[in-house]
Symmetry: C2
Subunit: 205 residues, 2 copies
DNA sequence: GATGCCATGTGAAATAATTCACAATGTTAA
DNA sequence: TTAACATTGTGAATTATTTCACATGGCATC
């Protein structure tokens, strides 16, 4: 099975390659892509090996073909709908950020317990009360969730998502979730990240 | 040298331990901390070995002592000031999030190019124009930066930070930065994270 | 006391991730 | 046509990280 780090890098490659494509660039060598993505040429080649795309030794990788190959590998055939729970500062920032970014992933509903935040549309996304979560998720065939609630609300909200059929969660709450192992959870721990930066900026890596 | 993954875990342990301490818990065993943090007991013991704290086989780890040991290990003696560039949705969310969270790390200034956003105080943090960055950072002895600007502005803003003496950057912009190797950069790539979730939720890890 | 129990700390082993290094291949230039 | 060159794809080596497994030691119980 492919590693999660490799998937993150491949996702990054696609983003960078799409930018290059927009600028009119047609092909790229592994060491150039590595320089742009901040890795090594060998790693780029290994990663692309995993998705089953071959370049030519003389031209390198043909960018639009490679983007297509990455998309075949990464994306679902149909697009995947996403729900967001927690319409706070961070939740709104993420709604703004993800709007129209990847056609294959769309945040179709946002939820909050606060009555004042529901029945609105934020960055094109309709807001509902958490009580309606299960109904809305099933109506929209949502299998992915983004959790931007407080630490105290996170475990409960995550369980609601799982009960509603969600299979993967991107968790911004600063605590680990206890969920069935089959649920894929990715934690974004901003506190730990800034402390890491503080530590290594001081001590050197 | 200790790994960055280990530092992130140790930071998480501290947060969890402080919560437990607040609840009145006095001691904890490695396997309990592992369960809460979502790791293995052996890994917890290895991580704590690195910081040089020893527990007792009968009581486990004394929580307040351990928190102190972690802080001695992770934190700088004096506190470290942080600057944030990019007062958009995400920047504001992070200002809200970090306010009064860690006494040792404080966001002392925020910057933006937009005239309408400067000369305000957001979540206790004063906002300046990016033109004043170098001056303000040197006045406040800032060595850490958080980058919440758009992809197109990120490289330039990062270079400004480095020119002003910053040694470590937490980068939320969706592109890798090209900076001198001695600068420590931690990338938080939310796009890659959600695509990872989408991929593994579908395929299984 | 002596004994059993349980958790720690840590070498050693296992596993995972990255890098090396080179045969294979196609292109350019003479 | 042939030689020189640069790059790919990949087995093997290396390095990093995690887990295993057990000697050690303190406490409770008999």
């Amino acid at each position: 099975m492919i590693s999660d780090k490799a998937i993150a890098r491949i996702s990054l490659y696609r983003r960078l390659l799409m930018d290059l494509h927009k600028e009119g660039r047609e092909a790229i060598f592994s060491h150039d892509l590595a320089a742009i993505a901040g890795g090594s040429a060998a790693q780029v080649r290994r990663d692309l090996m995993a998705i089953g795309y071959s370049g030519s030794p003389t031209k390198g990788y043909i960018i639009d073909e490679l983007v297509r190959s990455i998309s075949d590998f990464l994306d679902c055939a149909r697009h995947q709908n996403v729900a967001l729970i927690g319409i706070g500062n961070l939740g709104r920032a993420i709604l703004a950020y993800f709007t129209n970014r990847r056609p294959n992933l769309k945040i179709v509903a946002a939820f909050d317990n606060d009555e004042h935040k529901v029945n609105r549309v934020i960055h094109g996304c309709r807001c509902y009360h958490t009580d309606d979560l299960e109904k809305i998720l099933q109506e929209n065939d949502v299998k992915l969730g983004i959790l931007t609630v407080s630490a105290s609300g996170a475990q409960g909200a995550a369980e609601k998502l799982v009960d509603a059929g969600v299979k993967g969660i991107l968790n911004f709450a600063p605590i680990p979730l206890k969920l069935p192992r089959k649920i894929y959870v990715e934690n974004v721990d901003m506190s730990a990240s800034i402390e890491k930066v503080a530590f290594f900026a001081r001590k050197g890596k």
